[in-house]
Symmetry: C2
């Protein structure tokens, strides 16, 4: 593993666990960039193109798929979501840590191509709390609510494919846990081979 | 792995890397207790029995060895050092995280009996810096200085047996890294099986 490479940090979890809020709150709180995803869904109130998402038409999105411009993409609830490839790979190559906030389908695809990424599964403190959060969002129809609940139930099953589980009891606590995971991963012995070799060289040189 | 068990965190590294200073600075800065070791060496100025070490005579120490009262013990530079067993195991059983600050011989012994412990190797920013720190301590004879340098060179080789490498460039940074490692380890998916089962039960109950 190349120590000079940045970390690829994937923050994922069922819809309604608050991973979006956590990522917004992470901005500027550590040594990483947060990747902006592309989507064909309609912007929610207050969302800004290029900040929250790159909002694309279905035609624009499909052209990018054909050009292999995404690390992963998926269709979720009838809309496309994707992670633009070139910027993420450039950052990692240049030693910059990158955070991706993606759904579980997408995360599992990224894991296949980047097995040494750091995969974080955000869970609600309880399923009851998850239902409350999705309902309170107020942007869902009864049908889409039911779809999201069922999907969340299914998705919890993928938790064991992840490296870390972060309970989102409060956003501040969840943010602190993710900041800690990033610092700890940078200290992992199998990621610090370069530093170790430097010390060994110093010893040999004497 | 039992989620309700506390973590056993082993902070180790060559003599002079500052692991003692780091552990002193960790007191009260997280969700853990710091185990007090026993030793037969003379107290340094300001060291207090029961706080920095339990200072024992060689006879007392040998009796404890015979009674199997240590998790590990070792003879280093002609003195015995050991980790009292019962208190550490009680804490872990009751969900309390425990930090052991021990030398590399001791850490490797603990790893054999507690492979799911968290093993942290503290290194100096450079070997040159390590030499300066050992020399500045002012408590060493020229012979013991040489012994410590040589031993540090040897010990760096064991770094790959550890889970984490923490560079002690400043004590504050090293402390922050260790705090982060402890929080991250508590979030590891393979340590969170209990929480995951709780959510799954909630799903099945509906």
């Amino acid at each position: 593993m190349d120590e000079k490479k940045g970390l690829l940090i994937v923050i994922s979890g069922p819809s309604g666990t608050g991973k979006g809020t956590i990522c917004k709150s992470l901005v500027g709180k550590g040594d990483f960039l947060i990747s902006v995803s592309a989507t064909t869904r309609q912007p929610r109130q207050g969302e800004v193109d290029g900040v929250n998402y790159y909002f694309l038409t279905k035609e624009e999105f499909k052209t990018k798929i054909e050009n292999d411009d995404f690390i992963e993409y998926a269709e979720v609830y009838g809309n496309y979501y994707g992670t633009p490839k070139s910027k993420v790979l450039d950052c990692i190559k240049n030693g910059i840590n990158v955070i991706l906030e993606i759904d579980i389908q997408g995360a599992l695809k990224v894991k296949k191509t980047c097995p040494d990424g750091v995969f974080i599964f955000v869970i609600p403190p309880s399923m009851d709390e998850l239902r409350k959060r999705i309902s309170n969002r107020g942007t869902e129809t009864p049908q889409s609510l039911m779809l999201r609940f069922r999907s969340a139930y299914e998705e919890i099953k993928y938790i064991s494919r992840y490296n870390y589980v972060v309970v989102n009891d409060t956003v501040d606590m969840a943010v602190k846990r993710i900041q800690s995971i990033i610092i700890a991963e940078q200290c992992r012995a199998d990621r610090r081979k370069g530093k170790i070799l430097d010390l060994e060289e110093e010893i040999i040189d004497e």
